[in-house]
């Protein structure tokens, strides 16, 4: 899909003899540290559309779409159904390399910015970033769309997949700003930011940036210890528990 987008850009370049626009981006911070009172963080992105004398003038105004993707991972979507009197997980589909977080921020709703075909081609929108997958790709799986829809619906409800049609705005015809809220439950890792500039439903330029969500000081140390010295970590936790239990008998001694 990325290749298709690149080909399209190349085509745009070839057709118009003039140079297309270029984007220059700046993120308000490139790392978000999660500390003990972390409930989420705001990130602002500024972008400038650079044109030079040879750039063709556009009839329509610019549109901008900021796509943010969290680290990818595999998920299993399970479906419950009735087994006798009980509701149990009976069916499942696995989806690999699904972004743990997706935000699509644009200056107006995506449907108005580009047609469905184009959105899929250049991966605009949550829908385009969660490709359909099945247990077997070569056989038709009529149930699969339900699982995929459920995955997107549940992630939307958690606030991990968001599409906001007015989170980006043009401050001047060539300067835009987008604000992004990273929720407290956002997973750790590298977040890729892809910014696409469009006009009249046609992509003109694309530029990317990234930021990292990391654990802050003590949280990081605890999480690393839990992973790398699990026995000592477990022993330390147990000792802490026993120590506090002992302290309680001293504080509340009833004699």
């Amino acid at each position: 899909m990325k290749r298709a987008a690149l080909a399209l850009l190349a085509l745009a370049l070839a057709c118009g003899a003039a140079r297309a626009e270029t984007l220059v981006l700046s993120l308000s911070s490139d790392r978000i540290a999660i500390t003990s009172n972390f409930t989420g963080a705001d990130i602002a992105l500024f972008g400038v559309v650079e044109r030079d004398a040879t750039t063709v003038s556009r009839a329509a105004a610019y549109d901008v779409v900021v796509g943010v993707r969290g680290p990818r991972g595999s998920v299993v979507v399970r479906e419950k159904s009735r087994v006798g009197p009980m509701w149990l997980n009976t069916d499942q589909r696995r989806y690999i390399a699904i972004p743990s977080y997706i935000a699509m921020l644009s200056n107006r709703p995506l449907q108005e910015i580009a047609g469905e075909e184009m959105r899929r081609k250049i991966t605009l929108g949550v829908d385009a970033l969660v490709p359909p997958q099945g247990r077997r790709t070569d056989i038709f799986d009529p149930e699969e769309p339900n699982f995929r829809q459920a995955l997107m619906r549940l992630r939307r409800e958690e606030g991990l997949f968001v599409e906001i049609g007015d989170a980006a705005e043009f401050l001047t015809p060539s300067l835009f700003r987008a604000s992004l809220r990273i929720p407290g439950i956002a997973p750790l890792g590298r977040y890729d930011v892809d910014v696409t500039l469009l006009s009249d439903g046609v992509p003109l330029a694309r530029q990317s940036a990234h930021f990292n969500v990391i654990k802050g000081g003590i949280e990081q140390r605890l999480a690393t210890a839990a992973r790398e010295q699990p026995w000592s970590y477990g022993l330390a936790t147990a000792l802490m528990a026993v120590f506090l239990g002992w302290i309680a008998t001293i504080i509340f001694r009833r004699d």
């Binding site: 991972g73 839990a226 970590y233 528990a241 026993v242």
Partner: protein
Amino acid sequence: MQFYLPIAELPVDAFMILGMGAAVGFISGMFGVGGGFLMTPLLIFVGIPPAVAVATEASQIAASSMTGALNYWRKGALDLKLGVVLLIGGLIGTALGVLFFNRMRKVGQLDTVITISYVTLLGGIGFSMMVESVRAVLAERRGKKRVVRRAGQHAWYEGLPLKVRFHRSGIYVSVIPLSVLSIFIGFAGAVLGIGGGFILVPALIYIFRVPASIVVGTSLFQILFTMIAATMMHAATNYSVDVVLALLLIVGGVFGAQFGARAGLNLRGEHFRLLLALLVFGVAVRFAVDLLVTPVERYSVTLTETPR
């Protein structure tokens, strides 16, 4: 006040967790039970991943049973030999339980296993406790004294070999049924995030005729060490023990337990057991509802591989 849990990787309201710890601690202090069977479900209901809830609760039970066991130890109301025999089985059961837990987590059936186990185990025990205590309350009202077992009557398990004498408890029993019981409790404890006191105490009283004055201290001693082992084994194999969550739960629990213990003094024996039975049964019903009622959302999403 929001607090970020480093292992569960989500923010929680610290006062809510402290409050939950205190409320469960109050109940556990009142009834002399660990409270794991209440706390683990509560943690799951407020959105803590089941694996983290079960693994972390083990450390909270270790703390509260440390307090209890020390108090009984100082009063001399603890059979160390019986405790050690129970502990050996408990450790084997815990190891098996952690293995089973990790296996079920891998195949994606952990939630179902936890739900069904809570329904059957707590439902069964809660129900039989309820029947027993209702009978006791009724019998007392009619002014009759109930005879639990007549002299000279022997159950089949009393004829088993490998008999050992436990002087402090004044019993002479085979270690085979004791081991079976403690392995089962260790297993259930590791899988469900419970100490198992509410199973162990009645079993020791009714099956093995351990005196009531010694049984609680002895069971707390066994639970203390199995839960220390469970904490370490969970930490070492599934990395799900959240030390920040554990700290909040322990601090809340310690305070709640003190007030609960005072409130418990005013309760009479039969009513006391009936209330506890209702509580245990209530948790089972809550899980049964999850299992039986048509869910609003039939789908669920689980991350199987940590994002890169």
